[in-house]
Subunit: 311 residues, 2 copies
DNA sequence: CCTGCACATAGAGTGGGCTTATGGGCGTGG
DNA sequence: CCACGCCCATAAGCCCACTCTATGTGCAGG
C-alpha cells in the first residue's frame, strides 16, 4: 500500500479485475430469464438488495447500463443483451468444469465409474456428463483419467464400468465401439514461417523440426511418434495441453494438437494450422468395456449419448 | 443465519459456489505454464503466500489435489491437468467477454468504430477483437449493436468505420463482402415430439406452431418471417438469445436459432435439431462500408481477419 | 384508495483474500 | 562444505466486498 499500483499492459493479467465473477454472471442470466431482479434473487437464494447491488456494481465495473429498471420489472438493455450472451458462454464453460470436477471428486459411492483417456476426458466428457445429468439427475459419476493401458486395467479389474480410449488399437480383452474420429493438426503462431506455407509439410520435415510436446506417455504423442515412423524431437515438454497451446501462441514454436483442443484458437486466428502431406494423423476415439459384458444401466445411458453425438 | 441453509437441487443455482473464481483459475493456468507458484504469483502481481493459499483453497473446494509441490517447483497432478484444461475453456470465454465489454464501453476516442448486427456481435466479434488485439495491441475499438438499418445509418453518417449485417439484402449506399453464411436451425428439447421426427418438418407446420422467439425487430426473426412467407406465431417473446435457449432447454417449446448460437447445446444433446423441408433458412453474413470508401487502417485489419476466418 | 410487487437506500456484521514476516527443504557454485 | 538462491508453508493482522435487515418510493389493479 502507498506504493503505486502496477498495470501489466500486454499480458492477460487481471482478467479477474475486468470480468465479473461467476456469481454475478449467473445473476444476470437469471434476471434476463425471469424479468425481475427480485425473482432472480429468490432463485439464487439471496435477497433482493443483494441482487440489486450486485448488478449495479457489475454495471459500474463494465461501464455500461445492463438492465432497464422499472416499477414493473427489469429488462435488458441492448448492451445488456449482448453482455448476457457473452456471459452465457462463460457460464456454459463453468458448467462443464463443474460436471467434470464433481466426477473427479466423487470417487466412492458412485453408480457409474468411467475411465477415460486425457483427450476425451478434457474435451468430450464434461458435455456428456451434463447431458447425462439432464436425463438421470441422480446418477453419481466418477472419473479416472489415464492412458489406454490404465483404462483397460481398470475395466478388467471391475474398477470401472465404461472406458474411453484414443489409441490406434483396442486393448485385448475389451469390446469397443467407435464413437468419433480425431485428427491431429500441426499448428503455429500466425507469425511463424510455416503459417504462410501453401505446399504441405513433408513427414520428414515435421520429424526433423523440434516441436512443443506434451510429456512422454501422452496418447497424442504416441500417435505422433507412430505417424512419423520414429520419435518426434522435443523443443520443450510441457505438462498439459493448455501449457502447450499457450506456448505456441506466444511464438515458441510449432506443435501437434488434437483438433478438439483447437476450436477457438483456430477460428480466431490465434493459431494457424499447417497442411501436412504424407502423414496419417488421424485416430479413432472408442468406447470400451470388458469383452462380453455389454454395458447396462447408467453405463448404457452414457454410451448411447456418446455414439449419438459422435461425428 | 440460524435458519437452515437451502439447497436448490436440480436447478443450476450455486455454480459460483462450486466453481472457483476467475482469478483462481487464471492463477492455476499460470502455475501450469510457469511451473512454480511463486513465478505465477509474480506474473499476476500478487505475493507467493497469496498464490499458495489460493491454490490450496481451490483444492479444498474441488476436493482434489491439483499441483504436486516440491522444493524445486510445482507440477500439475493428473487431475490438475484435467482441471486446468477445463479452466482454460472458462478463461477463453472470459477473454471474449472482456474484449467485447471493453468495446461496448470505449465509445469515444476509439480508433476503430464498429457497428454490427446482434448475431455477429454476439458470436463472432469477440473472437475477432481478440485476434485484432494480438496483431495491433494499441487499437481501441468501440462497438455498437443494432439492426441493418442502424448499421447503415451509422456508416453513412461517418459514425462508424466498418459494419457487419446479417440481412438478406445489402442496404443501399453500402459496399459489402460476404464473410460467412449462417443457417437457422429449428431446435427443441430432447423430450419434445419433434426431436424424434425423421421426416422433415414442412414450412406450413412450422408456421402454424407457436414458437419461442426473440422480440420483433431481431434479425433472426425477420429472416424467419420471410422464410415462412408470413409471420411466425409467438409462444413467448424473450429479450435475448440466452433466454430463448434456456426456455427451449426447459421444455417450453421449439425455437429457431442461428447455428452460431448452438454449438455446445447440440453436441451435448441438451437441444436437438429438427430437419426442415421446404424452407430456406440461410443467410449471408456481410461486412459493409460506405460505397466507394474501401476500408483502410484498423478497419482494413479487422476486415482481413474476418474474411480469412469465415466459413 | 389500498394492497402487492417492483426497485432503491442505509447501516451493521462477517469472512475471504491480501499483505508482511518468518521458517524449513533442496540445489548449486565458490 | 557452507552459503546463497529458489522453492514452498505457516502465522497474524488488515481491509474490502458482499451480505443481511429494515426501511422508503413508484406504479398497477381491484
Amino acid at each position: 500500500m502507498g506504493v503505486a499500483e502496477q498495470e501489466f499492459p500486454g499480458f492477460s493479467g487481471g482478467l479477474g479485475r475486468r470480468v465479473p465473477e461467476l456469481g454475478a454472471l449467473e445473476l444476470l442470466l437469471a434476471v434476463a430469464r425471469l424479468g425481475s431482479l427480485g425473482r432472480a434473487a429468490r432463485e439464487l437464494g439471496i435477497t433482493q438488495p443483494a441482487a440489486s447491488s450486485r448488478i449495479r456494481s457489475m454495471e459500474r465495473q463494465l461501464g455500461v447500463a445492463l438492465v432497464d429498471r422499472s416499477p414493473t420489472g427489469s429488462r435488458l438493455t441492448d448492451a445488456g443483451a449482448l453482455v448476457t450472451d457473452w456471459a452465457q458462454r462463460i457460464v456454459e464453460a463453468a458448467e462443464a468444469f463443474d460436471a467434470g470436477a464433481q466426477a473427479l471428486r466423487d470417487r466412492r459411492d458412485s453408480r457409474l465409474r468411467v475411465a477415460a483417456s486425457m483427450t476425451i476426458a478434457e474435451y468430450l466428457l464434461p458435455g456428456w456428463l451434463i447431458a447425462l445429468r439432464a436425463q438421470r439427475p441422480d446418477t453419481a459419476v466418477s472419473l479416472l483419467a489415464g492412458n489406454s493401458a490404465v483404462v483397460a486395467e481398470r475395466l478388467l479389474a471391475d474398477e470401472a464400468d465404461l472406458g474411453f480410449v484414443e489409441g490406434l488399437s483396442v486393448p485385448t480383452g475389451l469390446d469397443s465401439a467407435v464413437i468419433a474420429h480425431d485428427r491431429l493438426i500441426v499448428v503455429t503462431a500466425p507469425g511463424h514461417p510455416w503459417a504462410r506455407r501453401r505446399r504441405p509439410l513433408a513427414a520428414a520435415e515435421l520429424a526433423s523440426t523440434p516441436l512443443i510436446l506434451r510429456e512422454k506417455g501422452s496418447g497424442t504423442r504416441q500417435v505422433l511418434d507412430a505417424a512419423l515412423g520414429g520419435l518426434a524431437r522435443p523443443l520443450i515438454e510441457l505438462s498439459s495441453t493448455t501449457a502447450v497451446k499457450a506456448s505456441v501462441v506466444s511464438g515458441a514454436g510449432p506443435a501437434v494438437l488434437s483438433e478438439l483442443a483447437l476450436g477457438e484458437e483456430l477460428s480466431a486466428r490465434r493459431l494457424v494450422s499447417v497442411p501436412v502431406a504424407d502423414v496419417r494423423l488421424s485416430r479413432a476415439l472408442r468406447a470400451v468395456w470388458p469383452a462380453g459384458h455389454r454395458p447396462a444401466g447408467p453405463a448404457r445411458d452414457l454410451l448411447s449419448l456418446t455414439v449419438a453425438s459422435g461425428g
